[in-house]
Amino acid sequence: MQRAADGDQKAFAELVSRHIDSLYGYARRLCYNDTMAEDLVQDTWLAAWQHAQRYRPEKSAVSTWLHRILHNRFIDHTRRRATRTEHSGSATDMPATALEIATLEASAQEQARQLEQAQMVARLDQCLGELPEQQRAAVTLTHLQGFSNRDVAHILGLSVRATESLLARARRTLRERFSE
């Protein structure tokens, strides 16, 4: 990171390779739109490059810092547009792919079980997409990106206690919507 802050493009490229999939996954969960997710990730790396010297290793890990930038960019973006991006069909592509794999590889009985499982995952994915932004961000960062509550609090700009409360509320909402 220090080398990247000194303008070393090779070091920066290594950072990009290490963290881009995680950032892209988070961006996809935030906006459910491939093009917007790509723009968001590119904006994030641009900001990281331009302000790399502001990174303080004692405050957070690089991954946490990058996710915080991405989250703030997403908020800026949605405020500018003032309209929530529609849950596009592309989000259901993943479960469809999982279904195809299950169809090809499993026996008939196993196939039925996997089909049911894939449908449940797809349904959960859909419910996650329908959560309010903050709740969706908290669930995504904790359960899909693997961040600790402390890191999630840092990324979202909340206290740890507020984050725990937000996460509990998000899980409750997710469970209710899934059971509807």
Binding site: A13, G25, V41, W49
Partner: protein
């Protein structure tokens, strides 16, 4: 759905996290502008320059310190010389015993 079941589904969803498309890396690296850094600070604190800069300044600092010390010693010597030669001048310096007739 209970908590365990939800956690299990979330783990499966995590396993399906999409990877960034390959072209995105190239696009990011191709569009990097110059970093926003103050020019002078960047030049002074960049690794190749700060060591020679300090090395160049060191003789000046040493020269300044030794110069001040030697001037101070000279000044003391001059003061004693004037004190012994000129009672009036010595009086202003405060180290001359003035005796009235």
């Amino acid at each position: 759905m209970d908590d365990d079941q939800m956690d299990q589904l979330l783990r499966q969803l995590q396993a399906q996290q999409p990877s960034a498309p390959g072209y995105l890396r190239s696009r990011i690296m191709a569009n990097l502008p110059e970093q926003e850094r103050p020019e002078v600070a960047a030049a002074v604190w960049s690794k190749p320059l700060w060591k020679p800069a300090i090395a160049a300044c060191l003789p000046l600092v040493i020269g300044f310190i030794t110069g001040v010390v030697s001037t101070d010693v000279d000044q003391q010597n001059v003061s004693h010389w004037y004190a012994s030669a000129d009672p009036v001048y010595a009086d202003t310096l405060g180290d001359y015993e003035y005796v009235e007739d």
